[in-house]
Symmetry: D3
Amino acid sequence: MATFKDYAYTHFLVTSPAPFVVHVQINRPQKLNAFSEPVWREFGAVFDRLSHDPDVRAIVLSAVGDRAFSAGLDVQDASNSPLGSGLGSDPSRYATALRRHIVEFQEAIAAAEKCEKPVICVLHGISIGIAIDISCCADVRICARNTRFAVKEIDIGIAADLGTLSRLPKLVGSTSWVKDVCLSARDFSADEALSVGFVSRVFESKEAAVEAGLKLAGFIAGKSPVAVQGTKELLNHARDHSVEENLRYTTVWNSAMLQSSDFQTALMSGLSKTKPTFEKL
Amino acid sequence: MATFKDYAYTHFLVTSPAPFVVHVQINRPQKLNAFSEPVWREFGAVFDRLSHDPDVRAIVLSAVGDRAFSAGLDVQDASNSPLGSGLGSDPSRYATALRRHIVEFQEAIAAAEKCEKPVICVLHGISIGIAIDISCCADVRICARNTRFAVKEIDIGIAADLGTLSRLPKLVGSTSWVKDVCLSARDFSADEALSVGFVSRVFESKEAAVEAGLKLAGFIAGKSPVAVQGTKELLNHARDHSVEENLRYTTVWNSAMLQSSDFQTALMSGLSKTKPTFEKL
Amino acid sequence: MATFKDYAYTHFLVTSPAPFVVHVQINRPQKLNAFSEPVWREFGAVFDRLSHDPDVRAIVLSAVGDRAFSAGLDVQDASNSPLGSGLGSDPSRYATALRRHIVEFQEAIAAAEKCEKPVICVLHGISIGIAIDISCCADVRICARNTRFAVKEIDIGIAADLGTLSRLPKLVGSTSWVKDVCLSARDFSADEALSVGFVSRVFESKEAAVEAGLKLAGFIAGKSPVAVQGTKELLNHARDHSVEENLRYTTVWNSAMLQSSDFQTALMSGLSKTKPTFEKL
Amino acid sequence: MATFKDYAYTHFLVTSPAPFVVHVQINRPQKLNAFSEPVWREFGAVFDRLSHDPDVRAIVLSAVGDRAFSAGLDVQDASNSPLGSGLGSDPSRYATALRRHIVEFQEAIAAAEKCEKPVICVLHGISIGIAIDISCCADVRICARNTRFAVKEIDIGIAADLGTLSRLPKLVGSTSWVKDVCLSARDFSADEALSVGFVSRVFESKEAAVEAGLKLAGFIAGKSPVAVQGTKELLNHARDHSVEENLRYTTVWNSAMLQSSDFQTALMSGLSKTKPTFEKL
Amino acid sequence: MATFKDYAYTHFLVTSPAPFVVHVQINRPQKLNAFSEPVWREFGAVFDRLSHDPDVRAIVLSAVGDRAFSAGLDVQDASNSPLGSGLGSDPSRYATALRRHIVEFQEAIAAAEKCEKPVICVLHGISIGIAIDISCCADVRICARNTRFAVKEIDIGIAADLGTLSRLPKLVGSTSWVKDVCLSARDFSADEALSVGFVSRVFESKEAAVEAGLKLAGFIAGKSPVAVQGTKELLNHARDHSVEENLRYTTVWNSAMLQSSDFQTALMSGLSKTKPTFEKL
Amino acid sequence: MATFKDYAYTHFLVTSPAPFVVHVQINRPQKLNAFSEPVWREFGAVFDRLSHDPDVRAIVLSAVGDRAFSAGLDVQDASNSPLGSGLGSDPSRYATALRRHIVEFQEAIAAAEKCEKPVICVLHGISIGIAIDISCCADVRICARNTRFAVKEIDIGIAADLGTLSRLPKLVGSTSWVKDVCLSARDFSADEALSVGFVSRVFESKEAAVEAGLKLAGFIAGKSPVAVQGTKELLNHARDHSVEENLRYTTVWNSAMLQSSDFQTALMSGLSKTKPTFEKL
């Protein structure tokens, strides 16, 4: 399928299989889609750009190749980063370099969460380390039955610092389960992920999962973009604020957004049973 | 059944089927219990009053009619509200009118949450839009198997602003599921609601569900009102505060509440295996 | 099994069944492991000490005897505390005494949560009142099938104030369920606890549950202690902070912790498929 | 001066000495403007109403009579409130009555702060107890030189609970001074109030102070009401939120408010050196 | 003057110059009252004990000797602490030791803030480093004209971590000034401290300052302890919470505290112009 | 003076008058240093770059020309931004464009605050609108006596949204004064700015003020950069967090930073009375 507009990237395939739907695929299968620094910098750039693109209303994120959604950090590459190079210098200065590096890394990963359009993450195969960090930034997670998940960082002697420990406890219901998988670094299956609510659906194959993801994206892309993007914003705000704070923020948000033409458009098409056409956003 | 004391309202039936138990029923079945402005203003008034009424210890909220708990906003009525009337004027002044309107609407719905007595919401049939907002304010949710839920607002071009987006993510475990239903506006069934923890029990019929709700209400009404109402307050506070903040608040709360005569009453009746009688609250 | 180092306590058995693994057992079976003031003060002391002990990397908490993990507060003993003795005096001064007492009680219970090493709580039999407060402070909860749980405080006329109401809503996914069990004080079973995510596994017998707990503890104790303890700290911080706050804290935390020798040790042993040996922490 | 529209109240004089300027005067001089329950309930009602009145853009609050802005709580009246009547009953039930009472009292006082229009408080003479609570809710405070301030509550054996302790530390710079006057209940003068920033100007007489307050109100009333009321809202929000939270809220607020016709109106009148006329708000 | 009860400490003189007034003096003048580890551990112990002592209602903190209130950290002693000893070891493990050490140090210093009774700090002479940390924990600060203040930590290559940077910005009005003195480590005088509101009064000599501190303490000690201690608690809570949060906390606090006999006692003595006698607290 | 390294910018002069000291001057005097979009984008870029530049330890920000530090927003330019161009379109889509625009504008201005090195702002002449927003992001503010300040936004019909309303209330002590100047848009003088603590020093001329700013910057640049930059970070964190949160953050921060060689370097140079030389940061 042709590249979406001029979204040509080294490590990501970006296509548009349906109107207003964009499909982003991690495209480094020979390395099991591991994340080196160029990969995560490009990841941030892609989602930052999609965020304000008026031709985009819903995004599916998946990965090229059969074996892995992502095997996580490219450890070989990381040895060239501050993580690998600073041993021996003044610990306070090494710490400063590490801190600046982690902040940039976190911000690149978080681009999928900050993206104003909904992101549906479709996982399959090996999905460990950064794969979890990334998928935690998506709005909806679905997966193939062969997905093998793990919060793997402890096995390389570090506490995960790109978002899994920040977000996972707020994405699923059972803290006992979260701590079990985070403290042991053990694998968990698609079914286990479903039963705890980490993913909301499991499909027999990667293909079926991607198809379902694209179908959901297409369904959402047919709705009012003002309503959809407002809903994502308000739900993300809700996660980190009290009900009262969120209600206040919602009120101000909707004081502008309820003036949208989408309200009339949606009502009319509802009455006439026709498919509404919404202005770009 | 006779109206509870002088709780005579246009859109709500209020009865007391058992001591200290009040049953509130939305009573606009001919409109599928849709909420016009007079309905939600009355809703707020009913729960504000029940909150401090010493003859009330537990409340069941359900709806009259077979087809719907509530079909949500009365869209026809809404066209007379600021939502429908301000198009064309200065957007900042229209926004001000909308903001004031939403705040009042939110406060009326939140009356069920602020009510000091536990509220058990029993849903059935069509339960969409405001039905979700309202039920999110209850303490316990149970439903009939025929309940058809939907966070429907996106289908009229708006982001839900009466509380669903603020509260739903904190009521169930799976954020992936919450975003799925909020971003797609799709229906979900009683069983799905049970499996994600939105409701805690499902019954074969509306009648069975209401009966179970009243039974639970009666059971709770037999407990110490100081303990029950304190538990509701502290759990609601916990939702929006850190553990440390909640523990501090709890400490101050109980510094007065542990001086209750209910402590002795409950201990004595526990030893003597008799039913305790607690002072009014 | 021999007492771990000089951890000799009146109400707790402390042993070390495997390297870096400590097993703490509540040891007051004749009183169904009920908590009097000396018990909870000792509980706090044990966990405060384990927290900084470099010979400890994972902890299992269970209880001696067949019948009960704990029957909760020792009501008889409590009558000698401020709770039982202040009736009749100036309510503001009685409140002050109660407040100081509750704070100390809360802090003792919270020692298991503040302990820097992961705590796996293994419940069985009667597990009510304080048993819930305590287990909510553990990182992972598993139980025997015969466990009978209840948030029992309402039945003695008080709102739970030692942590259950603060922590339980953040440990499981369904608020409707949380309010149901907290407002009704009803029993719930091991299977129910599993289905809502309060425990993450259920075993046929207490013995099997304890064995599984020790096995998990042993597994975790083999990992990098810098990574494990950092993970516990960051997950606990995440519960009470926004994602953004937690990411910032994580960044600073890891700016020191990524300088650990454990990173190299873990990488090397991963490559050489050998069991790593980490420095004490 | 004639009453403003139909703002006829028992304890307050409400007039409009200039376009869009309203002057509210506490009118119970024979009782030194002390606050009984009817007074504070009316206080809340007046400001709630002014908040949304499109004919109001700035408010001056002062008091009738030479001797006192307000002598604080009407202690005689208070003995009929829950404060005076509950001694001897179950302390937990008495506490519940007190809590409900304080909440209503606080909300009435806070109406001046929640009022969307700026409030300039002009104090003179005796200004103690509730006088401080009320003035802390105003936006700007100025006073006559003869004003005698005191946070007086400790002298009747209670900690101030209507807002002084909540707001005063955020209104002035020196915490050492705040604690000094709050813990000692000592008097402080107009000059001291000025030097610590509690008031921003001092005038030789009550008349001069009221005149200056009205002049400032008139000046503000000539500005864009969208800009003025937005500024009040955003400054009040800033007090209780981080800079980052406030910037986010500001962004959403102004996304509607920058669409105001006031922007063009103000720019044009600036260029043409004419007095702008803004639409009502 | 005789030691207060059995408050015999190595580094502190504790006396009671007036009923319910306690005078704590740092007593290490030969070392310019510098803080070694035994000194700060004792500091925490003294204030923890005073906090609940019913014979104490107000505390003055000053220092023995003419030259210094305190010259700050005892750097010689610090070289034996984790701060001085860990260089060269694994930075993550050294960081852990430092973190635990700082937490204990912070908690000892904070004991003066957590102490339930008001603390008036009287400074003189050299008052640098820890002297600032400590005085920031007091409620009221006054000083002798010869006081020489400095936030000195930058001059030994560290950012202050015992509380000055946390509290100072909330104690005075001008952030520009706070950053100036914290970033430059320059000295500032008593008059400058007064003009920015760090201290609330300056006296010609140490003796005059101590006398004034004791007089204020005596004045406060004559007031209702329920009211005074509640006022300290609510003001400290206000610093770190929104107005709304503080009002809610205040409401619950006073629901018990308004039931105090001090209310009647204070009212009666006010009417009869006699000195009230309050029960111990 | 020569441009600092390759810091060549269109609207800013960047020089280094002393080791580790950088002087940034707004350089658009012909437009009274008003901010068009290219200006604020460059402003953000300059400070983002200085933040991590190891040759920079302290920054002075002033402006070229005699008449103005800055006259604020370049209104002519703004008419080409979303602010000026969207009138008439769907208000919800216009609001979206405005929101995205304001966020980018805010972030550019905030770069001076996020910059890891201390920024000393030296104001003179006309200093209105954005001049206030910018200076609020600096750490220390000083000014020439001829400075004429105003929070001017209300006079163009908008509430300030680039940071003044968020930060000013936290920079000075008197809220009454803040609201006075923000609600009236009136001018205030250098002396008034000094008396309320907005600036910490006033000089007779721009030249004297700049000289003093550079001298302070040079003084700070001679201190340990680890200590100085840590102090800025912790003070900025303190503004937006509770004391307890800040203490916890400080602890983790210093667990790495106390391992700095600067500690030994500073101690040694203190003992030897020599000027220390610190490694780059």
